[in-house]
């Protein structure tokens, strides 16, 4: 097991800069999720750590030593690929034992290691099958088994669940987490799905356009996002944003359509801002208070109600824990606990902390 440290990491593909000096550190044994929209560079980081791409600048340290010039096989890492990358011409056992075979381990030794890993993953009965005879979930386990057999210091996962159906994904999520607890190895997990990141990781790294936007524990990202991008990316359904203005010495923020919201703690601000309100934080209120939105559609799932609404011709979503029968076109008033409101700089998007 080992810590992983990334220092000012840069990567260019020809003229295109994919990573603009990324830095973060992963403590020994942690489960870290790299999350961001596609093309943000998260997979590139993983491939650089694995040694599948050449580093253009900066350093990667595993267990305290720089591994920039170390060959993949000597980096003591194992990777699970998005499409599993199982060797189609080898049985499950041969797939899992391939790395040990290259290390010239004896047959019984390889068999023992493969058996152990297979038992952990519950694929013992498939050892003589070929990948194409397995279901998606089973292939996924074989791919993990291949990684486990090597007993690496660091596990790398590249969107490993994206090829599974929704139900299996939830199940594998729990299994992966349990596996991490059992093996205790440092794990770096790339995903575009913020729910996977939130539910599995100890630390989440949010990325965009080759830059780290925020590193933190899952709930910290939710409660205190650094900027509007992180605020919008973390949480589902996504946060609602509106343009507002405030005046100094006033405890009100004013929406573009003139509606107002009272925010006592922001009394000193002056100018134009972006306000962020999570759908699940909005609550109904009498017509005399809050702000008025017009309902576009409502979806009832029994436990909750999801409303599509408009405020000043701008879309917003509202998630209610109670049943709410709203006819389209009718207006209702909603409000929010001022403590749950986020305010962002309208230029840079940075969150304004009071």
């Amino acid at each position: 097991m080992a810590s992983v440290e990334i220092k000012n990491l840069q990567k260019s593909f020809g003229q295109v800069k994919a990573l603009h000096g990324i830095s973060f550190a992963i403590p020994d044994g942690a489960f870290v999720a790299l999350v961001g929209p596609s093309g943000c560079g998260k997979s590139t980081i993983l491939r650089l750590i694995a040694g599948l791409e050449e580093i253009s600048g900066g350093e990667i340290l595993i267990g305290g030593s720089v591994i920039n010039d170390v060959e993949s096989k000597n980096r003591d890492i194992a990777m699970v690929f998005q499409n599993y990358a199982l060797y189609p011409h080898m049985t499950v056992a041969q797939n899992m034992g391939f790395s040990l075979r290259l290390l010239k381990k004896s047959k019984p030794e390889i068999m023992k290691a493969v058996k152990e890993a297979a038992d952990i993953l519950g694929i013992g009965e498939f050892l003589d099958r070929y990948p194409k005879q397995l279901s998606g979930g089973q292939r996924q386990r074989v791919a993990m088994g291949r990684a486990i057999v090597r007993q690496p210091q660091v596990f790398l996962f590249d969107e490993p669940l994206s090829n599974l159906d929704a139900k299996l994904r939830v199940q594998m999520r729990a299994e992966l987490k349990a596996l991490h607890r059992r093996l205790g190895a440092t794990t770096i997990y790339v995903t575009h799905d913020q729910i996977e990141a939130m539910t599995m990781a100890d630390i989440v790294v949010v990325m965009r356009d080759g830059v780290v936007e925020q590193v933190g524990r899952p709930l910290d990202l939710y409660d205190a996002p650094n900027n509007a991008f992180v605020a919008g990316f973390i949480g589902s359904p996504a946060m609602n944003f509106f343009q507002v203005t405030t005046k100094a010495n006033s405890d009100e923020v004013v929406f573009d359509d003139g509606q107002k919201l009272v925010l006592p703690s922001y009394v000193e601000l002056d100018g134009a801002f972006k306000i962020g309100m999570r759908p699940e934080h909005l609550v109904q209120c009498p017509e005399s208070s809050g702000f008025q939105v017009s309902i576009v559609a409502s979806e009832q799932t029994g436990s909750e109600t999801l409303l599509q609404a408009e405020l000043n011709n701008q879309d917003m979503t509202i998630l209610l824990r109670e049943r709410f029968d709203a006819a389209p076109g009718i207006s209702h008033n909603f409000t929010i606990d001022p403590a749950l409101v986020h305010l962002f700089d309208s230029e840079s998007g940075a969150r304004i902390v009071i």
């Binding site: 694995a50 040694g51 599948l52 993949s72 096989k73 890492i77 194992a78 990777m79 690929f81 998005q82 499409n83 990358a85 199982l86 060797y87 189609p88 011409h89 391939f98 790395s99 290259l102 290390l103 070929y130 291949r146 090597r150």
Partner: protein
């Protein structure tokens, strides 16, 4: 109604091709099979039915057996050279896909395959020339002994194998390149992380994964090897300069029997044997492919 109209259009559109096909393919193929059972001297009107006696005679005919052996040696020899060479060459060219010379490599390797047979064979004939050829010049220069390349029955077979392999190599490389490009990249990345070197990846991944391509290229090379003619015709003239006599090949023997010995039925029997060889090779290929798929 519409279905009927479509049907008649389909029939009308395919009919010309079908008729030509029947006329220039199916009929002569059937005729080959039929003639192989007859004795016909080309000049007379009468064809005499002789059953399988042409075939019986063939297997006691030294010239034919010589031709069959030579052809088989050339076909398998060329395959034995072409398959490993083209696979390795394709692997290396694929590895350098991003190089700015990649296009040059592909073209250069492929040119021998498209150059007309006869000029290419001329070039090699001079290289192999015993008295004036550069090959012997190099050998002598290195302290070796000049060899009568094209005047020795064994050496001339070797020369023909070299020429045929040189021509087939480009085809093999091209097909293998297609194969390499269709292989999943991530499998190689997984192998790299599992600790495989480039050469180990080639042995443990490429070779088994490309097995269907190898089978295909092998059979294509073998079949074209069994039809070798122009190469032997140009390279292996006998001492009097008569083309192709020193290394008899099947097609040459067939044409000689038909047009010089006036034994058309006998030549047709040879063609049927050639056909049988080709069919056997194809069946073996499909058998091996299925065996792999059925696991």
């Amino acid at each position: 109604m519409q279905r009927r109209r479509k049907f008649w259009f389909a029939i009308a559109a395919i009919l010309p091709t079908f008729l030509i096909f029947g006329w220039v393919r199916m009929y002569p193929i059937a005729e080959t099979l039929r003639l192989s059972m007859f004795e016909w001297n080309l000049l007379s009107k009468n064809k005499l039915f002789v059953g399988f006696s042409n075939f019986r005679e063939l297997f006691g005919d030294d010239q034919f057996l010589d031709a069959l052996t030579n052809t088989a040696i050339i076909a398998f020899g060329a395959m034995a050279v072409t398959i490993p060479a083209s696979m390795i060459l394709a692997a290396v060219i694929y590895h350098r896909t991003k190089s700015r010379f990649a296009g040059f490599y592909e073209t250069a390797v492929f040119i021998p395959h498209v150059v007309s047979l006869v000029p290419a064979a001329m070039a090699w004939k001079w290289i192999f020339d015993a008295k004036l050829g550069p090959l012997n010049a190099v050998i002598v220069g290195l302290g070796g002994e000049a060899q009568p390349w094209l005047f020795d029955p064994v050496l001339s077979v070797v020369c023909i194998i070299v020429l045929v392999s040189w021509q087939t190599l480009g085809y093999g490389v091209l097909i293998y390149l297609v194969g390499f490009r269709n292989l999943p990249k991530s499998v190689y990345e997984a192998a790299k992380l599992d600790g495989a070197s480039g050469i180990q990846s080639f042995i443990f991944m490429s070779v088994p994964l490309l097995k269907p391509i190898t089978l295909y290229v092998s059979v294509v090379t073998l079949i074209s090897g069994f039809n070798v003619y122009a190469q032997a015709y140009v390279l292996a003239s006998d001492t009097q300069g008569a083309p192709g006599r020193l290394v008899r090949v099947l097609v040459l023997d067939m044409l000689e029997n038909s047009f010089q010995n006036f034994r058309v039925g006998y030549a047709a029997a040879e063609a049927v044997i050639l056909l049988t060889v080709v069919l056997l090779l194809t069946i073996v290929q499909f058998g091996l492919l299925r065996q792999k798929g059925g696991k």
